[in-house]
Symmetry: D2
Subunit: 144 residues, 4 copies
Amino acid sequence: MTAARISEHRLHRRVQFHETDAAGMVHFSWFYRYMEEAEHALWRAAGLSVTQVAAEVFFPRVSASFDFKNPLRFEDEFEIVIRITGFSERTIRYSCAMTRGETPIASGTLVAACVSVRPGQSLKAVPIPQAIRDRFAVAPVSGE
Amino acid sequence: MTAARISEHRLHRRVQFHETDAAGMVHFSWFYRYMEEAEHALWRAAGLSVTQVAAEVFFPRVSASFDFKNPLRFEDEFEIVIRITGFSERTIRYSCAMTRGETPIASGTLVAACVSVRPGQSLKAVPIPQAIRDRFAVAPVSGE
Amino acid sequence: MTAARISEHRLHRRVQFHETDAAGMVHFSWFYRYMEEAEHALWRAAGLSVTQVAAEVFFPRVSASFDFKNPLRFEDEFEIVIRITGFSERTIRYSCAMTRGETPIASGTLVAACVSVRPGQSLKAVPIPQAIRDRFAVAPVSGE
Amino acid sequence: MTAARISEHRLHRRVQFHETDAAGMVHFSWFYRYMEEAEHALWRAAGLSVTQVAAEVFFPRVSASFDFKNPLRFEDEFEIVIRITGFSERTIRYSCAMTRGETPIASGTLVAACVSVRPGQSLKAVPIPQAIRDRFAVAPVSGE
């Protein structure tokens, strides 16, 4: 029996005080961390421990972007939806949408490369192991 | 006499230990903070205190992106160059290049909107005050 | 009818990747953030929105300390227990214990002062409002 | 010839925007990072690269505390003075004082243990290598 492949994950999150800045809003650098928290939750939902995977390969970031639409403030509760939008031999692509109720907050993208763990050496992308690839599928295109 | 308009700024920075992650590299969320540190240093070089400006307007982020080329590690020294690449009536656009010696580290973009300070209300973009606009100029296109 | 006073709160938390450092452990600065997350959860459990309270008073830190016993690593799940250990007219004292299963991780203390919100002025401690004091009680001394 | 032993270090620092919180002040967790930045600068002043040392031993924190006296705000410039206050066979003790001009900001303590690098194993304190011990001296007691 094979477990279903995972292509998206939804995470509920509350803004913590230390994530806000003197403008009274979540500092924009935090959105990239929220996206990564959702990415790792997606991996756990796929039965993959990022920690165990990390013994052989890890997934440093190739690029990351966000469009910011509305601010988040302290104690706001919000949703993070992360979707797999593409695979190449050595990279995974994600999109990410954040909302607070009906209010759009931000939308982002993330590209990560599969890199073998070789301490002290420069990073070199390698093919994504089949055992990882088998757990994921590209999400159907949404109207979002 | 009028001081010269500012269109770019170079910042020297060293990686602090708390900026690294368990992969032994600077966590990618930090690049957005480095870019903002350079942006605020550019404003100070233009004779503008972000703090004083903030009594009337502030500049929340519309979008931000990075392409990551090589990692930074603890105690690495590196350069951040931020350039103004465009103005609209209500937004400023920047590009950002980070290097460690001859090694390219990352290149990014940032768009910020001019928003009036109205506590408790939603954010609304307003025209950039002339006193701010007068201090900056768009950087010439570089080959970088 | 009066709701029971709150004197402690237990929070379950998982270590996020961006909280780790190049030594492969959670950076020690994060323990103070974990303690504050638990403190704010305790306030919410007491029916107090820190955000609403903050219109009149807020609670800047007078002191904070931790003894670190064992490290936390990426994806570790752990418990944070925060207890109110004392009140003075203008301050609240907390103790905090973190554990991962049976393993002690850290124990900390936090003292916060009640300060009135007066933008642009220096901080001045004021008596804790009765409506806040009524919601809390000092925790019984534990053997911990 | 032997270089003079180092017992204290002074660091000049400016508050960055991302270090502030919605109360308009530097979040208290940042003081522990400022203290560590000064500690690592002290090590570099002693001719010790923390990165190179880290191939054999590293110095996880045993305890850390701060008393907070006055807030720091965005763009504030301030001084961090860190002093070595004691050595045991396996630990180093520091005190730390932060000031903004004549205004006291905070005073802290830090104890770090010398631990051998053994990936995947629990942390175990070992004697501080003589080559490290030879570079430092306990600071004379100050009136501060």
